[in-house]
Every structure is written in C-alpha cells, then in structure tokens.
C-alpha cells in the first residue's frame, strides 16, 4: 500500500509537474524520499524565498503551475514573501509544506508554524491535509484552483504522520473531482454596447494588464488595436502583451511610465481597460484618472470592478473571450480604420519623447543605453526578469518586450530579490531560450545565495547587475522629496560582484564601456553556464519620467 508521501509525488506527476523548487527538512523528509524516484526535476534552492520565486518565474514563463516545496516552521515561513508576491501578481504557484505530526500540532513543537493561518490572506486556497486518503483530491483541487479564474497561489500543508500513513492505492483512482469552472464568457449585450462605444469613439485607447497575458489574449488585442487604430498602453504586468516595437504600442503607463502613455490617458475619449486592476502605480491620483474619457473595464475578477476606479461600463469575463467577441462585433458594425487623426497624434507623441529616453547619464554607464544594447543583442524570444527598484523601472522603460511571458517582474508586491530566482524558474521552464535577469546591486544581494544552485545544476541564466552601490530608488526619493538627505541607502564598496560570482563557481565580469558590455552579453549568449555581468552605472542616474505619488499622470518630472 502506498503511503501519503508516495501519493503526494504521484499526485504531482498526475498534474503534469515536470520541475519543482525546494529545500528538504524533517517534516517533509518522507516526501523527499519518494520524489527521488520520480521523473520530476527537483531543483535544490539555497533559500525557500528563492524556491517560491523560482516557482513563480516558472509559472509566468510557462503558463503552467509552478511548484515549490519547503519543510515546516522556518522553511514554510521563508516561502511567505514569495507566496505574497505570487498573490499580488496573480501567478499560479503551488506551495507544498511539511508540517509537524498531527498529534503535535498546537503544542509549539519543534519547527512548528501555523502556515495555513499565516498564508490565508495571501493565497486563493490553503489547506492542511488531515487524512492520508484526502491527498489526491486536495492536490487536484489545489492545482485547479491555482489556474481557475483569476490565477494565484495555493498552499498544501501535509503533517509528517499523514505522509507516513499507508492507504489503499485505489484512493488515487477515485479522485476524478473537477473543480475547474468553464472560462467566464462575455455577456453578448455588454459586448454590443462596448463595441458601440469603441466604434463611436474618435480617440480610443486600450490599456492592458497581466490578465491579457494570463489568458493568452495577445492576438485578439492586436487585432482590435489594429482595426480601430487604437493605441495600447500596458501596465507593468501587461508588458509584452503587445510587441513594444509596434507603432500603436505606447509602452508602460503609470508612475514611471512613458510620457506618451501617460499623456494619452488625458487625450483619449474612450478607454478600454482589460485584465488590469487600476493599481495606484498605474493610475496616479484615482479621482483624476481619465476623467474626460468613457471608461470601460473588463476583468475576470468581479471584485476588481470599481474597487479603485468606477468605470462607466464593465464586463466580467476572460480577457481572450472578451476581446475576441468585441473584435467580431466591431468588425460587424464598422469599417477598418487607417491613418486617423488620433493615430497621427499617437505617432507625434511617441516621436516627441523618444529623444528624452536616449539622454545619457554622466558619471558612469547609462542604464538606458545598457538596456538598449541588451535588447539589440538578445534574440526576440529571450526572457528577461527584473529585480525591484530603479533597475526594474529602467528595464520596463528601456527594454522592449516583444511577446507575452518574456518580461517577468514583481509588480504588485515589489519584492526586491525576485528577479534572480525567478530567472532560474524561467530557464527551467524554457531551457531553449536565453534568460537574463536585470537586477540592482541591492536587489541581487537579497537572493544571490541561489548562485550556488545555478552553479550546481549548470543552469545558464545570466545576471546584469545595474551596480550603483546604492539602494537607488530610495535614494531617488530622498534626493527628490527629502532634500537630498540620504539615509541608510549607501551600500559601499562591498561585495565585489565578480568575486562573488566566482566564489560560487560561475562566471563574473565587470564592464567599463558599452563595447565591453556588448561583448560580455555575446559571450554570455554562447555560454552554457551562469554569467554575472557587473555594470557600474552612474549613481545619480534617476528613473524618469516620474509622477510623484498621489499626483496626476500628466504631472511628470521629466
């Protein structure tokens, strides 16, 4: 008869899990004994936060559930940041934790933590398995809940005795439960009225968020945009939903968005927001956002409608089905638009601001130019992950993404240290494409112990460290809003990023010029191990444009 640990592994296999990221420990040791004999590629991380981020990166790069595993107590609590990150960005991470034996629960046993209680506000579903024969059904449910509707993380907590108990093999077959609901399809009457609003509008704007990527709606988005000559602005999470070299793409909007994207929200007469949640970082001051326009909101999560901003018209639907239906109706009732006054205005806006982004920094290498070189050198389908802070916003502004799931960043939670382990997950999911992490020196150091993992498994991810020896984004705020009184942002001369890389047994290189950077990237692309490229940048370089918090999107500091 199989024991619980065997059922856990078999359940993972049945869900099609190919890879998992984790760290073993006493309460999960039985599971680790069984996974040894399975075909699941288990990657031993060096910190559980990294395991959760790697699972997240895997999920975002592949569109499938990403799995992370930790033991009870500190193992489980170390996952928490990664789970919260996945929750805020609606990423289907399945976390599996060991737990102390059921008879010890609540007695403050060694390495006991109430992980189900801790993660309850940051998961779609968290469950402690109490009986071994529940395992197959709970695993099935968790995997389905993670991708059902608005995606998000789930956690399964399995006490040690539940893993050890033997039950008849048949419990595995008995689980034919299906918790998946059919995709929420658009309401035909609403589709008609939305299509009419769009067709009646002279200056339509589409704003798309991560929901467009999650539902795979990029083709439908592009078709609608082209047909109406409607420009597309994206949120950070929506980056890659439309190729950023497309003439109708305005790039990212928001606090650090592109000027043309922000200004377009004041000029459009109708704005269709799809799969986005009006985060304060995207809209600026809520009450002033797109006041002159008719606002239409489509999201799969009913609870998002009107949460931050009230639309004139909304529809609760899967983004792909919605955009397809709206496109069909638009085609039925109107002619394709070509070269409108609005599309000429969009081009004019874009042309106005391009020189601004090309402006170079003075006291070191310019982050924007570094990112443009990186874009020139990387194949179109390459995946880029980012840390959080200036490095992230520079990458969002200056590194164009061309397809969905190729730009992976911590949007909602803003988790420093996300980028590097996420790149490990992305590379495991998509070994055939180059994967680069654009990071800051502060952000990279938060999870860089996982260099040991990439060295051990020879995972060929590459890290570009935008190295300014500061917690740069905080410094930027202190410079701009706190009269330049720097406090606790200086990182000093340590560590030496090249030696750090070498200490872990991966390649390290420091570049002093744009040409050196270009050749370092080329070398990394040919390499089959990890390369850390340290790029000393101007410590005073700022992320611009910048909309101060709580202000209007047109009140940009340029």
């Amino acid at each position: 008869m199989p024991d619980g640990a065997t059922l856990m592994v078999k359940s993972l296999e049945r869900e099609g899990v190919k890879a998992a990221f984790g760290i073993p420990g006493g309460a999960i040791i039985d599971f680790y004994d069984r996974i040894r004999d399975s075909n699941i590629n288990h990657i031993l991380m060096r910190h559980e936060q990294g395991a959760a981020h790697a699972a997240d990166g895997y999920a975002r790069a592949s569109g499938k559930q990403g799995v992370c595993i930790a033991t009870s107590g500190p193992g489980a609590t170390n996952l928490v940041t990664g789970i919260a990150n996945a929750f805020l960005d609606s990423s289907p991470v399945v976390a599996i934790t060991g737990q102390v034996p059921t008879h010890m629960i609540g007695r403050d046993a060694f390495q006991e933590a109430d992980i189900v209680g801790i993660v309850s506000p940051i998961t779609k579903f968290a469950y402690q398995v109490r009986y071994t024969n529940e395992i197959p059904a709970i695993f099935r449910k968790a995997f389905q809940v993670a991708v059902d509707g608005r995606q998000g993380p789930v956690l399964i907590d399995v006490p040690k005795d539940v893993q050890q108990k033997e039950v008849p093999e048949s419990v595995l077959e008995e689980t034919s439960v299906n918790y998946l609901r059919p995709s929420r399809s658009p309401d035909p009457a609403k589709v008609k009225s939305i299509a009419k609003l769009l067709c009646d509008s002279e200056r339509p704007l589409l704003i798309c968020g991560g929901g467009v990527i999650a539902s795979g709606a990029q083709d439908e988005l592009l078709a609608l945009s082209d047909y109406l000559m409607a420009p597309v602005a994206t949120t950070l999470m929506g980056k890659g939903a439309i190729p950023e070299d497309h003439p109708l793409c305005l790039g990212m909007l928001g606090m650090h968005g592109k000027a043309e994207a922000n200004l377009s929200t004041f000029e459009a007469d109708t704005i269709l927001v799809v799969g986005a949640r009006f985060s304060d970082r995207s809209t600026g001051k809520f009450s002033e956002f797109a006041k002159q326009a008719r606002l239409i909101h489509i999201d799969i999560d009913e609870a998002e409608i009107g949460k931050n901003i009230k639309p004139q018209c909304f529809m609760v639907s899967d983004a792909k089905l919605a955009l397809k239906a709206i496109y069909d109706e638009v085609v039925r009732i109107s002619k394709k638009r070509e070269n409108t006054a609005w599309s000429r205005r969009v081009k004019e806006l874009k042309d106005t601001f391009v020189p601004l982004y090309l402006k170079e920094a003075e006291g070191g290498l310019s982050p924007s130019k570094i990112l443009r070189i990186l874009r020139e050198e990387l194949p179109r389908e390459s995946v880029v992950t980012t840390g959080v802070g200036q490095n992230q916003m520079w990458a969002a502004l200056h590194f164009d993404a061309y397809s969905p799931r190729t730009f992976i960043s911590s949007g909602g939670l803003g988790t420093m240290g996300f980028g590097f382990p996420a790149s490990i997950g992305a590379k495991v999911a998509r070994p055939e494409v180059p994967v680069f992490c654009v990071d800051g020196d502060g952000s990279f150091l938060m999870t860089s112990q996982n260099l040991a993992t990439v060295a051990y498994y020879k995972i060929a991810v590459n890290v570009v460290v935008m190295d300014n020896r500061y917690l740069g984004m905080v410094k930027q705020w202190q410079d701009m809003f706190y009269r330049g009184r720097l406090s606790a942002v200086e990182l000093g001369e340590t560590p030496d990023m090249v030696k750090l890389a070498e200490a872990f047994g991966v390649n390290g290189a420091r570049v002093g010029s744009y040409d050196e950077f270009r050749s370092a990237v080329r070398k990394a692309l040919r390499s089959d191990v990890c390369n850390v490229i340290d790029v000393p940048i101007d410590p005073n370089a700022k992320v611009l444009p910048f909309v101060p918090p709580g202000r209007l999107l047109k009140e940009m500091v340029m």
Partner: protein
C-alpha cells in the same frame, strides 16, 4: 465610514470546516470593516454552514465585500439580503437590577408587552429574555435602561428570506 450607515445583512453558505470562519472574518478585517453581528450554524445541507453577517456600512462597501467573499473557495453561496423581504431575529438575555417589588413588577410589565420572558430572579436582579427583530430588541433594551442593566448578551442576527429560495439557481446545485 460614518455610523449613520444603514444596516445590511449578508447570508452565505460555507464549507463546514476548520478555518473557514476565520477566512471570512479576515476579509472584513483586511478592509477595516466592523462586523455588527455574525451568526453561524449548520445549514439544511450536509457539510455546509450558514453564516449571517450584519454590518453598518455604505452599500458600495457591502457590495465589494460580497464580491470578495464570493471568490473564496469555501464560500458556496453568498448574497446580500433584501431587508424588506427578509425575516431578521435575535435573542437577547439581559440581567437587570431590580431590588424591590415595584421595580420588579415594572420590569415584568415591559417584558410582557414585548412578549419576552423572565428566566431568572435573584435577590436584587432579574434575567429577562427577549427575541425578535433588531428594531424590537433594541427598543426593549432602550426602555430597560431606566433600570440598571448589569449585563447583556445577544446571539446576533439570524435571518431568512420570505418565500423564494436563497439559491441563485436551484437547478445548478449538483453537489
């Protein structure tokens, strides 16, 4: 949120499992929404409990919290009750000071008018029980304030809709 907000009642059917109540309560806590009353007990359906939450909030906040709760895996059904077509009841026990005959008979009169019951009499106090709609129980408590109220305990509000079924779509309840 001002205290002037109207009373709203939300009814839900949830999985009868440990932790579900705490997740429901968490949804209110997260948005700093104060719950007026919450009642929970087994429902007519095996494995499901019925929860009634009442709160004083504006309609928008109640609507948002209903949509948030609807997303929870353990929430099987949820809706805001239309108070004009629902029956709301609660039970209140009140320990009131009544040291002499006059006071006792006065309390007893009030109890009779409100169709309550005296459930305990001690030397200088009485425990009375009253059931009814919140407007009635509140009015009763107001009247009793002339005496010294020692303790009050209330069950919170239970509710049912009159007539038509709670379920959105009867045909779809396959479980």
């Amino acid at each position: 949120m001002s205290a002037r907000n109207e009373l709203h009642a939300v009814m839900m059917l949830v999985e009868d499992k440990p932790g579900v109540m705490s997740r429901v309560a968490e949804t209110f806590r997260r948005r700093s929404i104060n719950i007026d009353t919450i009642t929970v007990g087994k429902s007519e359906r095996e494995g499901l409990s019925r929860i009634i939450v009442t709160l004083r909030q504006n309609a928008e906040t109640v609507d948002l919290v209903v949509r948030l709760l609807k997303k929870m895996i353990d929430v099987v059904e949820i809706k805001e009750l239309d108070l004009s077509t629902s029956i709301l009841r609660e039970l209140v026990l009140i320990k009131v000071k009544a040291k002499d005959r006059d006071e006792r008979s006065e309390v007893l009169q009030l109890v009779n008018i409100f169709r309550g019951q005296v459930v305990d009499v001690a030397e200088d106090s009485m425990v009375v029980q009253i059931t009814g709609a919140p407007s009635k129980t509140n009015a009763f408590i107001e009247l009793l304030k002339r005496f010294e109220i020692l303790e009050i305990t209330r069950t919170g509000i239970v509710a049912l809709e009159r007539g038509a079924s709670f379920y959105a779509d009867e045909g779809n309840n396959s479980d």
